[in-house]
């Protein structure tokens, strides 16, 4: 038997190593490519969801304003209405700041907040709405409601 049949030649051995290194580098490149794609797609999804959630927050505030619930400044009533509109999968926090207009400008009357604690993670949407309360044919208070939504 020829000894070359039992032992691979150095040329074949080096060739194998080069192919292995190339295959590893190729796999690495391919993995980076797939990882980049996945990262872009997931970011894109987050952005679209964030916009949809922002609109949801805005619409919820409009409904609360138009049906007069916001003007009551009643946290229980507002929470019930929000829970009914948003369902169980969406959490919220509401902040309402009420001011009174005097000769020297706006004076802060009250600040109230209720709902769940705001998480630190991404995916938080916020909407704002101004509204008035009246008394005896005149505007008595000017308020801003800020609604935070997340999943």
């Amino acid at each position: 038997m020829d000894s070359s049949q039992n032992h691979r030649s150095p040329v074949f051995s080096r060739k194998g190593q080069v192919f292995t290194v190339e295959a590893l580098l190729g796999s690495l490149l391919f993995m980076i490519f797939i990882w980049s794609l996945a990262s872009f797609v997931s970011n894109s999804k987050t952005d679209s969801w964030s916009i949809a959630q922002e609109k949801l927050a805005d619409d919820a505030l409009i409904v609360l304003d138009k049906n007069g619930t916001l003007a009551t400044l009643n946290s229980t009533l507002i929470s019930q209405e929000l829970a009914r509109m948003l369902g169980n999968s969406t959490s919220f926090r509401m902040e309402i700041k009420t001011s009174n207009y005097t000769n020297s400008g706006f004076v802060n009357l009250s600040e109230t907040s209720f709902g769940s604690s705001i998480p630190d993670e991404k995916g938080l949407s916020v909407a704002e709405r101004g509204f008035i309360s009246s008394f005896n044919g005149s505007v008595s208070n000017y308020s801003i409601a800020r609604l935070y939504l997340w999943r």
Binding site: F30, I51, S99, Y101, F131, I132, N136, G137, S138, V139
Partner: protein
């Protein structure tokens, strides 16, 4: 031969890596453009939402002061209750400060009323009619170039009174197709007494109807060329004026509004919601 093969494999690997990098870079560009679009979309949505919020708050301030309106197809109906206690001009000034200094600070909101804000005025667009509304005097001014825009006035006046009478001090009637149809209905809120009158008036003439309560002046309604209306009241009353027009209209506040958010901005007139 072996050498050529090696160079070929290396070049192929290099071009493959380069093409993958190019694809990733292209996708990154697309995603960045998408992100920018989303950010712009969010800004535009924020501006639109804030503009709508200001419009509705403005409508609410008018309603609190006793002035409400409704637009149905081509008919504008305004209601006014002059028994209000607050000052509309004061409330509008406060609203401007609220948006400019408090609620709209982050979005650079600038709301400015035209110079003569002490007399509450609204424009009826696109016909360019002016609606002036004060506790004792309500008027609709029609510009000469828009003389056939108002088809008629249906006026309801209700107040506390005892003995009603109506008399035309001046009247120029017309049977022409473009005559102004004017209906006046006055009723006493404390009794069931009421008076009504319907006339087809010449819109280029001058007509004046006086409403009296037990011989004293209660209201003076005048129609002047080219179809302008003025209703003067000597006491607090509920007033409803319905105006059929020759096209769809909307109300505009004499104010300018500008909102800036990110790279997007809005600047224009302040239209009241329909």
């Amino acid at each position: 031969m072996e050498m050529n093969k090696g160079v070929f494999v290396t070049l192929s690997a290099f071009f493959l890596a380069l093409s993958l990098l190019l694809i990733v870079s292209a996708i990154a560009d697309i995603e960045n453009a998408k992100k920018k679009n989303n950010a712009d979309l969010s800004d535009i949505h924020g501006i639109s939402s804030m503009r709508s919020n200001i419009q509705w708050m403005m409508k609410d301030v008018f309603a609190v002061s006793g002035f409400t309106y409704a637009i149905s197809n081509t008919t504008l109906s305004i209601e006014e209750n002059s028994s209000r206690s607050g000052s509309l001009s004061g409330d509008l000034a406060a609203l401007r400060t609220f948006w400019n200094n408090v609620a709209g600070k982050n979005k650079n909101v600038t709301l400015d009323f035209e110079s003569n804000a002490s007399t509450p005025v609204l424009y009826i667009r696109p016909l360019n009619l002016t609606l002036r509304q004060e506790p004792t005097d309500t008027s609709v001014s029609v510009p000469s170039y828009s003389n056939s825009s108002v088809l008629g006035y249906y006026i309801i006046l209700e107040t506390s009174c005892s003995s009603l009478s109506m008399q035309w001090n001046n009247i120029t009637e017309s049977s022409a197709p473009d005559a102004l149809n004017v209906t006046v209905h006055v009723r006493c809120s404390n009794t069931s007494e009421s008076r009504s009158d319907f006339r087809q008036l010449n819109r280029t003439g001058y007509s004046e109807l006086q409403v009296l309560d037990a011989g004293t002046n209660l209201s003076l309604i005048t129609i002047a060329s080219p179809g302008s209306l003025e209703v003067k009241k000597s006491r607090s009353a509920y007033l409803n004026i319905m105006m059929p027009m020759n096209e769809s209209v909307y109300l505009e506040v004499p104010a300018s509004l500008s909102i800036r958010s990110g790279d997007s901005a809005y600047s224009g007139a302040l239209r009241l919601p329909g």
